[in-house]
């Protein structure tokens, strides 16, 4: 009984995670510039990928698999913001065109030596 409930919960988590992944991809296509796209990819992507990883132990019901999945999710959650931050920083310093912003407090403070 408990096993069946866990399996159904895992199925729901898998589909919801896949849906978030799809929304991340739609966001990357639809949003107007790099920084707004980064919002979609880093948040929805991390949540979607993490949900799919957590669905695996719910379906297989194995302790060591659960531990590995949790470690994988922790790793994903720790590294996604770091890579998003690095990419945002690198592309802001290499191209000066922030195309679509209402207010830009970084723009006029940009270090002229860079």
């Amino acid at each position: 009984m408990i096993e069946a409930v866990a399996i159904y919960a895992g199925c729901v988590l898998l589909v919801v995670g896949a849906l978030f992944c799809l929304l991340a991809a739609v966001g990357v296509i639809r949003l107007p510039d790099l920084l707004t796209r980064m919002h979609a990819a880093s948040k929805a992507g991390a949540v979607g990928g993490g949900m799919i990883l957590l669905a695996v132990p719910l379906v297989s019901l194995d302790g060591s698999v659960a531990l590995r999945a949790i470690l994988g999710v922790m790793f994903l959650v720790l590294t996604t913001p770091v890579s998003a931050h690095l990419l945002a920083r690198a592309s802001l310093k290499s191209t000066d065109n922030v195309t679509f912003t209402a207010l830009d407090e970084l723009g006029h403070k940009k270090d002229p030596s860079l």
């Binding site: 199925c11 991809a25 799919i52 994988g72």
Partner: protein
């Protein structure tokens, strides 16, 4: 619906959704327009591939696939860091030799 049916149905739906997502991020890689956009889409592509491998792990019941998914996440992170450093260094090199 038995649990086995549910797993089969859910993994089919998830694989379809992820396939569509992979296609969309490939479109962004091709369209661009800047290098940053392409790197971002590649980063998303590795996360999506990780999700795909996870869905395959659930479908086949082989949890060994989970290790592949985690290794893929690690690889995607390192690739993005390397690309970010490349974008920064390209800027510096371009400045030295205009």
């Amino acid at each position: 619906m038995t649990p086995a049916d549910a797993v089969s149905l859910a993994s089919t739906i998830a694989l379809l959704l992820l396939g569509l997502a992979l296609l969309l991020s490939v479109v962004r890689i091709v369209v661009g327009p800047t290098l940053g956009d392409r790197v971002l889409a590649l980063d998303l592509l590795t996360v999506l591939a990780m999700g795909f491998v996870g869905a395959v792990a659930i479908r086949t019941g082989l949890t060994l696939y989970l290790d592949i998914a985690i290794a893929l996440a690690l690889l995607g992170f390192l690739a993005t860091v390397a690309f970010a450093r490349y974008i920064l260094s390209r800027r510096v090199a371009g400045k030295q030799q205009p």
